[in-house]
Structures are given as structure tokens and as C-alpha cells.
């Protein structure tokens, strides 16, 4: 009996390989005609990220993670509702452009994908999310960190990476625990991002009984920070936090050191880049900064090896997350025993999954519960992880890697 199933499904696979558009339909009909025999049904999973433009390498990395998950799943000859299925991977390019993002989302909906992994950017994910929501297709982002993405109330939107507003508390907590400052100066660049993260930092520091100086503000184009820094120098803070991007954060720390400020400088992910070392030179050494999620080397070893073997390159940034996101879609389908988005969507929402980035479960908004935040320091011109913060608990990087 079992042998017969395998033979028929292999036959169907061979037929399907010739002309993928029509054969599966016939194969499915055959499956009906011949009772107790299954046929490979095609289940389409989409992935969206920028494959052209300035961050194309990150988009390709994300896509590789999802592709690897699909290929591994297919190798196991998965069965859903008694029928063998073949997952078909559709990779789309949104050029990191919100307008293209919505076009591509509609294209995937029209192609009848049952689930989407992506997009890479918050800027493209947010406008695309209502399109998926309307079509009832679950979408899991592995890298979009803007809080707004899951605040829109769409039941179909999930993410396996942390949110920006979990980052502020994390870096503030690390600063308070590790550097034990008495007084902290908080500066922001008067943008939604900068002000938001600075507010979270201030809240967490005040809760930790650290005194915070009155907020200083620049703009996202400020180049001369000396007036602000001179004023702060007179008040002798032990640490300075800046909510803003690297283009303004680099000059900030450089000018701070020139003025002889010895305080620790801390930043959010906008200024958590190697670019800081170029902009500020030696002044950038020793800065602290945070990123949502985990550095790629923290992912499961098996994944890192499989990725390297398949793509002949090392994972760059978020591919472990898109790998997990894809596996969650597949696991939910298997659990619901259906590839119908309406039927397996509830399974995604209540999934309890052990991925290569750790344990994954979603809260009611679709955000990952207990997402990790990583704290970095600048060492020899490169940002280097020093600690991981998860649900308010700090783990030193070396210990975290031993787990």
C-alpha cells in the first residue's frame, strides 16, 4: 500500500516537472480517480526583498534563507491532508521602494501564493501589509523592525524579529547595569525614530533611578554639535545617549571627544554600523549600540553550515530569520493539515516553534514574544557583539554563544 503511494507520487512529480503550470491539476485529478493514492500538489510560498539597489546583498541573503527552508522542506516529501505537496518558491524584488513593494505584493496575491516571507524593509512592509491582509494571506517579516508594522491591526501580519521600541529599553538597561552611570544626557535628532527611541531610553533609565539631563535636540542634518556638547560637558554626564542615524551620530561622538568629554556614548540601531568608525575615526572606539535581533553567527550551527553548502557564501544578516519564518509557514500548514490560508492562519498565530534563532511564539499583535536585542561595542573599527538582552535579562555574548 505504502509502496503504491510512493510510486504514484513519483510519477506525478515526474509529470509535473515537465510543465509545472497544468500538470499538477491533472495529477490532482488522477489522485481523485485512483483512491488511496496521493499526488504532489504545488503550494506557492512568496518571498519579497530588494534584489537590486544599495541593499541588494541583504535582500539576496533574506531570499536565500527562505529558499533554503523551502528546499529542505521539499526534500522531506511533505504531506498535507494525505496528499504529497511540493512547495514552490517565488522570489520577488521590491527594490526597497514602497511603491514597488505594493505592486509586487499584488503580483504575489494574484499568483495565489499561500504565504509570504518578507518584506525586508519596514518602509515596504507597511504599505504592502493591507494588500496581504485583504487577500487573507499570512505574511511574516524576518527583518522589519518598525513598531507600526504590527500596530495596524492586521491578523495576517507577523514578524520574527524584535521591534524598535524594545531596543530603547534594551540599550538603556545595558547601560544602567554595565556602566552604572549617575547622570545620563539624552539627545535626539527630532525625527519619529530618534525621538521614539530616546523616549524609551529615558523612561527605562529613570525607572532604574538614573538621573537624566533635560533633553537636547539636533536635527537629522545637524553637523555642528559643539554648542550642545559644550553645554552638556558643563553638567558632567557619565553617559550620552543619541537617538539618530550614523550620519549625524558620527560627528556627534567625534566632536564630543574633541571637547574632552569622557562619557560613554550609546546609540540605537540607526547608528549601530561600521560607518561610525569611518565618520568619527578613533573617537568611535568603545561606543555602545543596539540592534533588534541577533547577529548571524548566533544562529544554529546546522543552519550556518547548510547555508554555506547550498549558496557557497556565509549568511549576512537576517537570513536565519527568514529561514525560520518560512519554516513557521510550513509547520503551520502541516499542523492545520491544509495549505488554505484561511485554515492554517490560526495555527501561525498560536505556533510554538523551535527555530534556528531560538524559540518563536507570537503575541496577539503578531510580534515575536521575548525577542532578543543585541548590544554591540566598537572594537578596532568594527561593531562587535557584547551582550544579548531577552525579556529583561542580560546575557554576556560569550555565555550566549555557549548555549
Amino acid at each position: 500500500m505504502k509502496n503504491a503511494t510512493i510510486t504514484v507520487s513519483l510519477l506525478a512529480l515526474a509529470l509535473g516537472a515537465g510543465c509545472s503550470k497544468q500538470e499538477p491539476q491533472k495529477a490532482a485529478d488522477k489522485g481523485k480517480a485512483v483512491p488511496a493514492a496521493a499526488a504532489a500538489v504545488e503550494v506557492k510560498i512568496g518571498h519579497v526583498g530588494p534584489l537590486t539597489g544599495g541593499i541588494a546583498h541583504l535582500g539576496k541573503d533574506n531570499e536565500n534563507g527562505a529558499r533554503l527552508a523551502v528546499e529542505e522542506a521539499n526534500a522531506k516529501k511533505p504531506q498535507i491532508d494525505g496528499k504529497e505537496v511540493k512547495f514552490v518558491f517565488i522570489g520577488e524584488d521590491d527594490q526597497a521602494d514602497p511603491k514597488v513593494g505594493t505592486t509586487v505584493a499584488q503580483k504575489l496575491v494574484d499568483a495565489k501564493v499561500v504565504g509570504v516571507v518578507g518584506h525586508l524593509n519596514s518602509g515596504t512592509s507597511i504599505p504592502a501589509s493591507p494588500i496581504y491582509s485583504q487577500a487573507g494571506i499570512p505574511v511574516i517579516s524576518g527583518s522589519a523592525t518598525n513598531p507600526k508594522l504590527t500596530e495596524q491591526g492586521f491578523k495576517t501580519q507577523f514578524r520574527v524579529v524584535g521591534r524598535d521600541d524594545q531596543q530603547g529599553p534594551a540599550i538603556a538597561q545595558y547601560l544602567a547595569e554595565n556602566n552604572k552611570p549617575k547622570t545620563v544626557a539624552v539627545i535626539d535628532d527630532a525625527t519619529a525614530y530618534g525621538e521614539g527611541i530616546a523616549n524609551e531610553v529615558e523612561k527605562t533609565l529613570k525607572a532604574a533611578k538614573v538621573s537624566v539631563l533635560p533633553r537636547e535636540k539636533g536635527t537629522d542634518k545637524t553637523t555642528d554639535w559643539k554648542a550642545i556638547l559644550t553645554k552638556l560637558r558643563g553638567r558632567k554626564p557619565d553617559a550620552v545617549f543619541y537617538g539618530g542615524m550614523d550620519a549625524t551620530g558620527g560627528p556627534l561622538i567625534k566632536q564630543g571627544r574633541e571637547l574632552g568629554i569622557k562619557a560613554v556614548f550609546a546609540f540605537g540601531d540607526g547608528a549601530c554600523t561600521d560607518e561610525m568608525a569611518k565618520l568619527a575615526g578613533a573617537s568611535a572606539e568603545g561606543l555602545l549600540c543596539s540592534q533588534a535581533g541577533l547577529p548571524v553567527e548566533a544562529a544554529d550551527k546546522k543552519f550556518l553550515e547548510a547555508y554555506k553548502k547550498r549558496f557557497n557564501a556565509d549568511p549576512i544578516l537576517y537570513s536565519p530569520f527568514t529561514y525560520d519564518a518560512t519554516n513557521i509557514l510550513i509547520a503551520a500548514m502541516e499542523k492545520a493539515n491544509s495549505s488554505d490560508p484561511a485554515k492554517y492562519l490560526p495555527e501561525v498565530a498560536k505556533i510554538d516553534f523551535n527555530g534556528v534563532t531560538g524559540k518563536i511564539a507570537f503575541d496577539e499583535k503578531g510580534d515575536r514574544k521575548d525577542a532578543e536585542m543585541t548590544i554591540f561595542t566598537m572594537k578596532g573599527g568594527k561593531i562587535t557583539p557584547v551582550a544579548v538582552i531577552k525579556s529583561g535579562k542580560t546575557t554576556k555574548w560569550e555565555e550566549f554563544m555557549k548555549r
Binding site: P214, R215, K217, K221, D224, A227, K231, K254, L279
Partner: protein
Amino acid sequence: MDTLLQQLVNGLTAGSVYAVVALGYTMVYGIIQLINFAHGEVVMIGAMVAFSIINLLVPSGLPPLVIVLIGTGCAVPICMLVGYAMERLAYRPLRHAPRLAPLITAIGVSIILQHLAMLVWSRNVLAFPQIIQSRTYFFGGAAITSVQIAILAICLALMAGLAILVYRTPLGTAMRATAQNAQVAGLMGIDINRVIAITFVIGAGLGAIAGVLFGTYYGIAQYTMGSVLGLKAFSAAVLGGIGNIPGAMLGGVLLGLVEALGAGYIGDFTDLCTWGLPLAACEAGGHFILMGSNYQDVFAFIVLILVLVLRPQGLLGERVGDRA
């Protein structure tokens, strides 16, 4: 006291760069009554060219100072060329047109230069290579870096050099004569076109140096950096009396000081809690600050408005009825 002294040092450094840029505005205005709004972009191009050359030379292992000098040495002639081309192609054909036409052209030239720079050097903020290890010295609690000292010295030398050129050489005499009355100067045998072109070229050369100074001081360069810098320098020129060379120098330094002191103290002055108002935010040592130091850039323009309202001819300018 430390803080005040430091703010003065900061203001003086920024102000002397403004002064050198302001010279470019004031020289051109003095000679043909044109506000060359594209001057800020010339400064930007100076910084960008130096950026490219320095980046190119860093791997060569030459001493950092030599690299920066070569970078400046390339930026100056290129900017002079841009200045000359600008005058020859955009302004000379319009010399006898109504006032408004060259003014609008200046804005057009500025947009063109900005976008050309965007095509060449991308939209990104470029990190100026940090090759000069700046040492910090302390004087009575105020920190001053070797780069700041160099900027002050270079700006002072440029201003002195220009003053000698304008007031002590035959070329300077020709420039002043053209400024007073171009037609009569022409009748006296002065080649007006040449004098005007030279004025543009000198202004552009000064702008190029200012661009390099700005880039090394702040460590960044971007294709948009010229517009705000240009507007501030223009305000400085107006403050000192546009068309007046010592006025531009004074205006630049004053503007830098006003900005530094303004940004440094506005937060304290507009903190309603220090005024003793019974606000909820003030409880437990809280603050309610109306205007923070992000209003730094506003001061240059407040100064511009105040000057135009109260003393349109500027600090050192003479009241001239027929010149706006």
C-alpha cells in the same frame, strides 16, 4: 565659565569659516551687485573634490598633511574653473538684463551644480577621511584642537591676503574702480570683463578652501552641504554690509558667535521651569523647554531679518539709496 569660553572658541572657529565663504558673496556683490546664490555649491564642490583626492591618496602612505594639501591644491583650481564658467556662461550674458534675471539664474546654477554633484558623489553622507590626528589643547578649561587652530590661522591669513590684494595692488585698484562705476572704469582702460571674471575666480578659490576646512573640521561632506552653509554665509555678508570686504569678515565671525551662544543657552532661557511658572512638568526638578538647541540654524536667519529691518546697510556698509 568653562562653558562660556568653550562656546566662544566653537563660535570663533565656525565663524571664521563663514567669514571666508561670506567673502565670496560680498566680492561678487560689490562688483556687479549680484547675489551669487550658487556660491554655497562651489564650497560644496571644493569639499567633494578634496574628499575624492584625499581618499585616492590615503593608500599611498604620504604624510597626512601632504595629502590634505594636495587635496586642497586640486580643489582650488577646479572650483576656480567652476567659478569662471559660471560667470562666463550664466551671468555675463545677463549683465545688462533686469536685476531679477541674474538672481533667478543664480538659483538655477545652484540647483544644477547640486544635482551634478549628486550624480558624481551619490546622495550619501561621505565620511571625510580622518587622517589628521587632531590633538586637543586646554586653555583655561576650553578645549581647542589643532585642526581648530589651523582653521583660525588659515582663515586669518586668507582674509589678510585678500585685504592686501584689494587695497594694495593694481588689480585691487581695478576691482574697486569697477565696483564704483564699471562704465567709467572701462573708459579708463580697465578690462571690465577680466576684472569681473577674476573676482569670481578668487571668490571660488576662497570657497574651495572653506569647503576643505569645513570637511576636515566636521568630518563629513554631502551634496546638500552647500545650501545651508551658503545661506548662513550670505546672512553674514548682509550683517557686515554686503559689498564690504571687512564687513563680511566681521559678519562671519559675529554670526558664528551668535549661533554658538544662541544654541548653547536658548534651552536654559526658554525653560519655563526656571521662570518659576507653576507647571505640572516642573515638579520634581522637571523641565519644560520651549525651544531646544535644534533651533541653532534659526539664529543666522533671525540675525538676517533683524539686520534687514533695523540696519539694511549692515554694520560696516554705507547707506546707498540706489542699491538694494
